[in-house]
Symmetry: C2
Subunit: 203 residues, 2 copies
């Protein structure tokens, strides 16, 4: 005979449920994490909880490059050590961080916050393209590097932007095919990314 089973205590069940909503965390991992958090010292658990809230409360979108930043305009956009005549266009903030880790790029960025994906109903209006065009029209930009991922959607997005930019007579480049095709920019190692930056080709 089966009898009704006793679930975890309500606050534990709730935490398991909340953790299970995160990407890449299944029900078993969620349960394991929940009990780990329960055993954590109070101060550490609280500092994680506060970091989750702070990340939303204390960050802003830079109105220029659209990256997530401490201040608007962000430290990259206001840096005098950066070349303001070159913009590297990326899909998301994680890609910007990956490029920064190479330590070899001295220009500015533009974060699209997505790529064109008709299957998911994501069109040009859903990306930060208007903001990109405004920057280019009002600034002294000489080169735009299209650094979207080397996969179907990334390529389509790069092609789309290239067509938008072609009447403006800028140098428009794409990261070199040192990147593994079908891969994800964010997971590329620094050396591969450096090669890709240095071998960029006019498109």
């Amino acid at each position: 005979m089966r009898i009704g089973f006793m679930p975890a205590a309500e606050p534990v069940s709730r935490l398991i449920e909340e953790l299970g909503k995160l990407p890449g965390i299944g029900p078993k991992s969620a349960a394991r994490l929940a009990y780990y958090l329960l055993r954590m010292p109070e101060t550490e658990a609280r500092s994680l909880a506060e970091a989750i809230i702070a990340v939303k409360d204390e960050t802003v979108l830079c109105s220029s490059c659209q990256n997530i930043a401490d201040s608007d305009p962000c430290a990259i956009c206001t840096s005098e050590e950066r070349h303001h005549n070159i913009i590297c266009v990326v899909k998301e903030p994680l890609d910007l961080l990956a490029l920064e880790r190479t330590g070899r790029y001295k220009g500015l960025y533009h974060v699209l916050h997505g790529v064109l994906s008709p299957m998911d109903g994501i069109g040009p209006g859903d990306l930060k393209l208007k903001e990109l065009m405004e920057r280019i029209e009002t600034g002294s930009v000489e080169e735009v590097i299209l650094a979207t991922n080397p996969n179907l959607e990334g390529e389509a997005t790069a092609m789309y932007i290239q067509r938008l930019l072609s009447p403006l007579g800028l140098r428009v480049t794409r990261l070199a095919r040192g990147l593994p095709v079908g891969g994800d920019l964010e997971y590329a190692d620094e050396v591969t990314l450096t090669h890709a930056l240095e071998g960029r080709q006019p498109m």
Copy 2:
């Protein structure tokens, strides 16, 4: 020339660092989770943060079975539908939940909160063994099921408890060897656990 690279915004870096402390979450997963949390609706992120705090503030250890619970004594220990003469001893709360999911066990539990592990400096005094002995000496317990994991430390802990209990003339059993040896109780499926419960042998 390498130039100083720009890290993520401080609140984002802090969150990545906090998430990276959790078991099974490496730096890349932590970064991905952090940006996911950043994009989450405010209410959902806040509800995760609150669940992390609540799990510590709103749970107690049941003074009888030592499980993490909403109330002390817990709902299992006070249930009249449970057999109070049988105690199943498990390493941790997750193991109790795994056994509850079989829906076939009607007795009580005792959570050790660990197993003997001389390598990690965990001795008998670090487990909830005193509490187990008190329950057995003051209650009407007829059987103790030793349901620690079927691995080296779990076996050693079961042997240790069996020796503690042998003078008391109780029935002491161990979950049947239906469990994959070297595995982890928490990940066993319900059917295997049911077989293990039903095929338990005197030790």
